[in-house]
Symmetry: C2
Subunit: 208 residues, 2 copies
Amino acid sequence: MSTLNNSTNIFWQECPVGKVERQKLLNQKGCVVWITGLSGSGKSTLACSLSRELHSKGKLSYILDGDNLRHGLNKDLGFKAEDRAENIRRVGEVAKLFADAGLICIASLISPYRKDRDACRAMLPEPNFIEVFMNMPLELCESRDAKGLYKLARAGKIKGFTGIDDPYERPLNCEIEIEQKDGVCPKPAALAGQVVSYLEDKGFLQVE
Amino acid sequence: MSTLNNSTNIFWQECPVGKVERQKLLNQKGCVVWITGLSGSGKSTLACSLSRELHSKGKLSYILDGDNLRHGLNKDLGFKAEDRAENIRRVGEVAKLFADAGLICIASLISPYRKDRDACRAMLPEPNFIEVFMNMPLELCESRDAKGLYKLARAGKIKGFTGIDDPYERPLNCEIEIEQKDGVCPKPAALAGQVVSYLEDKGFLQVE
């Protein structure tokens, strides 16, 4: 009997249809592709492109977008340090559920701190967490500024903005790093292709 | 630009692979089957049996079990009133994501208050929330007491236990009500069959 958080009485319910059966049905293996990087580094663009490439191969994926979840699951959270950590923790927990359901779950959020990302990594068996680092120069991200956020941050109207007055901690051991080539950003389809190749090589796109 | 909870700047990211495309891939429609009832009323048993029946038809489902989620996503929550409400809200939000992903999401939790269940219902388009009420007599649930919880509640060792010293509010307009027939509980497979028939009738098990 569990005595988890003042409780009492939480039992674990097992079920005869498990991850293995779902993976067979889908002919793929559940995993989490965690895309991290500065605002404007192209996380959402890659997430969408990856989702499209996978769909064209008959593979089921689902995008957990940090911003979108703040309208639902995480709408009770603000932007102070502990809320940001809790935001990422919840996305990690939900991503884990999607991977367990057999989907290729694409999480797309700045997730600036190594500690928070590594906590999400630790929720899954080692190979099933694939960290993709959008390693784009701040200047490039800021020059894009599609949402106008860098301008606000520079003007002091947003506090604690990653890259401006709050740090981004680069991954030390990510599975995939996306960079400019000769000062040019690869096209989204090419980037998605790079991730798809990784997933193929690691055997996520079929079951034995 | 959103000004949601002190924020700032949360944009909604749309993507070209949407619910419709995922549903076509799966040949089913995403929805939430929300199983509510007393502890020991057979919610988890029905959830498992339903998941098995759906799998045998090639349909992808995923169970969100209230107890299991308290080990992960909801491990920061206890059992006081606002934590219980938040527990159910989060399950509702995650169930909504799974339905959006195209899965038949089976949520299994006591969810004793009408208000909380109705809030989850309101997150989805009307037909996509299917409330299943395990309408079993308290005496039966208590006599089963597989987890020994009723005994603890009667002894005053658990406070606020649904059915003993905390109310269970029966659904007023659930889609499916499961009852004893002539004092006998239908077999799990028969109950699951009842839900599967409902899903078939309403067109959830195929796309046009």
